[in-house]
Symmetry: D2
């Protein structure tokens, strides 16, 4: 369904071209000062039109918080976040009514629901993640302020351009020094270049986001079916266009021998820590106090400008060419989505 | 917690060296003939001592089903599966009481719970997956008999030895033609060789299991937070030693352009199908009728025979050397675990 | 938390004097024509100011539905209902900031949350049930249109004035022939009289609502912890001011012998039915095809006009006298709340 | 389904005449010394054959705990309770195969599941509550030892014989001074007399259990759909034969005016308390620190020795006469069921 979490629960609603999108955050503690600027900043990092490598669709994505907060502080009651869809104009989407776009959810929603809102993807659009980001940003802020847990994601790879340094925590400021959100300006330049090339070629690219969570106390996570890594994976695999998730050493570890990747314990400042962190900060589903490190793989945007063959509802072959403008690569805009979903998961085990 | 699923719910209990391990399967439909031989076969594929590339620990893993079945047919009441731990002998495990084994869950369980069953990993041991397999095998059998949905997994890669052919469905019989469960005897031989080498070197290996689910109707899955892929990922990431999950094109797709990996729709036998299957059978979180294809990455077994440095509960440096015998590579035994967890997930959306 | 149901899930938000109240209904089937007039009618039966035996607070309670519906039909996506609080004026509620009103939730919210919205009860106000009614009314309409299940509640008792006829189904029209919602005008007159007397005496009354659900197929309900009666009871006990719930023969049955109240099976129109219905249509937690009959006990409204002794946050004795106008008896306005919550529960087992 | 609770979760399995009944308790804290004698004592209070006013069926109801406990202390892993059915003899139950007993669940299970275990009620039998009592007793012991929360229930009424004194806490010892579990020996004698009369007349009786929970801190409970009273009601309405639940003043309050039943706050020992307790210790769904008081109505046992008319599966009229021996009144044996379910609910909000 449309709810994530067990203790801190985010319920999402809305469609790409409906009047509004929103979310209800339940289970959030009382007495926390809601900092709207932090939330709005994360929404700004996600919103369309923020740079010339993303879709130029214009949305202000101003969030309204109209329950669960009193005199500036949360009350423990459900918090409602609402964002207006300014772009919900009476544009003609009838060309999408009948056609099944390749690698989109048009066909599967049609089978699953019969009656579907086809305007710009409707419920299956990544636009609805704005509601997730709003709710998750509040939790992210809480974790940082109250628990010393900081979450930061960055672009690790765009197509074949890769940041090939070990995972480490970068502040949001460090990540945002460039529009592609890779905390190395040289690599970032190359990423921007390949994205622009894809854009020029009416094509699209995917990539990898790496997320590092620091300040996590040891002991978070519930075996055996609410493991911290499984719950993080579940959340990340809920993001549009995500095709893979890996923790710590990930798929690369399959090429190694145990003696190469076992994380030996040592003491540091009177606390156990591990010399290496192939475990990605989680062992047996429970945090071990090291940085949590995971990566999320995004496929290339399904919407491309070049002509594609597909079928319509009657099973007839048709050709399709995306009009309008769209993201050549969603990865830079997905950075705050990864962070805020991670915050929701961590919050679920912490708060 | 210890329950997987919303409609078909498996609740697991037991420890590695407790008296029993077991599971309660709730929500399973009434009137299905329970085929114990199918379940026992899956347990046999998971059990220790089945070949000379796995741990020689001896367990018969005979399952007792003592509720929810009447006159051979399920009744809709919860089904209880119980397996005796024959190996629960009064062996001395006191050396594990104080030490934190590298890349095991000793330290994290200690922090999380304080009082822990240290015998052979206790609750964190992969032994408890026997209960999952028992319950999941019943669902796997049901899906095949009643829904025409067949699930089969096989070993895709052991360390650097890889089956480099496109994913396709193989029957359990095809997979089980060799002890490593790779449906290509030549590659399988190489895999067996590297496992034995690791064994000889007191070391361990990891690998990748690929799972293909065929006969899936279009329309399974619930956006946005119960996406079929997210729920599958959650289940797979719950398996011990798993560090990654990818669907369809997975991480490899991040290197491609949209025009290369978009799955064009065509008609086949009067039904939409896609020419390629980079989507892995799931679009927008809902099955599209193509084979579901995913891969699961297993790290090398954490327990190795060579000496490792670590610490004990008092923070003192100690050296550790696994006595007894253990799996040089868990991947072949994990094949039925992947299948049966996938069955539980599919069942959750189907039954 | 703030969500009711497992399959059809209603998530509630909002406060008495916040900007809005609302609800998200998740899991509702696609393709159903949303009849706003039915929903608005139920809201009208709940709203303040509808007659001279209820609070004269003025709220139009117009509901906005702004997601999950496309071209007039539901899409299977979450449906968002929103109602403006017109009465959210900057009135001075500071007298409620410090005082714990007797038999209200002021003290318990203070302890539970620390920071609370004290304006008019905030989150603990019965005003928030407007969101429940909106969502539940859609389900009630669906059950009637698609499943032939009709739900109707009526006032059975106000203080000592009691409708002493056997439970039976009355249409909403029959129930609404008078303002107290008792489907017997003579008894209704007496009820109105005692309510007005209480009003004149600055006092308040409680009463009993009886609900009859007809057209229920046999076989709804899930033993053993999702019994239909337990789930109905849970929902009803969630309504403000409710102190009791009973099914069929209820508490009265404790005075009888088994031979007097066992429901003998007979055949009618080729189907099993019971000669009597002390079971209230549910046996072993599952519907048996007879009318479901239950009763809900409401205590007298806690807010009264006469002076009461109580304490403030500092533990000092204070006297309290409700200013403004309030309900002398909430029971007539609670009728649609009972119906729509019952609809949510039935929907949860049906849809 | 068969799981109660969100944080402390009890999953039940088993049938009346299956090999075993049991329960898995998940979420229970680590490090608590399991006192089997407390659990066994509660099972003894529930078990058949304990006195001459209950069914003489013989069951030892010895519980085995075989997971989640290590060296006598809980580990945080799921705790498995198992009880052998000694009475699962190959007795002939074929007369129950075809007939629908009045006010039993035979018909509804038949419709719901098709294939049912008809032996002694199968899954619908109250025998399965033994598993609940085992798991709940552990929580009850924990609440008393660790939180100072004590739960005690007693028989308030059998048919028309009623203990007409205000609700108050009685220790288990006080309650168990007689076999009917009414803490007033004179009234108890009358209750025993009417039960024996019903027994002699081949008839059965019902009654009311009152439960008082003392030592509850203010602040337990989660509005709006996990109210403490609603969750307690849900649990109680899950017990076989229960037809009603009321909190504090309950149904009786509907006869009163607000000024008569509002609970005025005062200070006592530096803490707010209420002069009266019509609220039953819960306001707005949250505990207020006063004793929690509720009552549960049990209908007369459906199984009676006199001849009853009913139908069989083919819809033919048949007459039925219970052979064997059965409970003339289940209320005395239900006392520990009420207590242990209440413990599970309180534990869910506390632990």
């Amino acid at each position: 369904m449309n709810t994530l979490g067990k203790h801190i629960r985010l319920t999402s609603y809305g469609e790409s071209h409906g009047a509004v999108i929103g979310a209800v955050l339940d289970g959030f503690p009382a007495g926390f000062k809601l900092d709207k600027s932090f939330i709005q900043n994360q929404l700004g990092r996600r919103k369309p039109g923020q740079s010339d490598i993303v879709t130029p669709r214009r949305e202000s994505d101003e969030v309204i918080v109209n329950s669960g907060v009193f005199e500036g502080f949360t009350t423990g009651a459900p918090i409602h976040f609402q964002i207006q869809n300014n772009n919900a104009q009476p544009k003609d989407y009838s060309h999408l009514k009948e056609v099944y776009r390749p690698s989109h959810a048009d066909y599967t929603y049609e089978v699953r629901y019969g009656h579907r809102d086809y305007r710009g993807g409707g419920r299956s659009s990544a636009r609805i993640t704005a509601g997730w980001v709003a709710g998750g940003a509040l939790v992210q802020d809480y974790l940082a302020q109250k628990k010393g847990i900081e979450i930061s994601a960055y672009v690790k790879q765009i197509q074949k351009v890769k940041l090939d340094t070990p995972a480490r925590f970068y502040s949001i400021e460090e990540v945002d020094t460039n529009i592609v959100r890779c905390p190395n300006n040289e690599i970032a330049e190359q990423m921007i270049t390949v994205i622009k090339q894809a854009q020029d070629n009416q094509d699209s690219l995917g990539g990898i986001i790496e997320c590092v969570i620091t300040g996590v106390p040891a002991g978070l996570g519930n075996p055996v079916f609410d493991k911290l890594n499984a719950t993080l994976g579940h959340a990340m695999l809920s993001i549009n266009a995500v095709k893979g998730f890996e923790l710590g050493g990930g798929f690369e570890m399959t090429h190694k021998r145990g003696s190469e990747v076992n994380d030996a314990f040592e003491m540091k400042d009177g606390k156990p820590y591990t010399k290496t962190n192939f475990s990605g900060g989680i062992q047996g589903g429970i945090s071990n106090g090291m940085d949590i490190v995971f990566r999320v793989a995004f496929k290339p945007t399904a919407t491309i400008g070049s002509t594609q063959a597909t079928i319509n509802r009657d099973g007839e072959s048709v050709s399709l060419k995306a009009t309008g403008r769209h993201d050549p690569c969603v990865v830079p805009r997905a950075v705050p989505i990864v962070e805020t979903l991670a915050a929701l998961v961590l919050g679920d085990f912490t708060i």
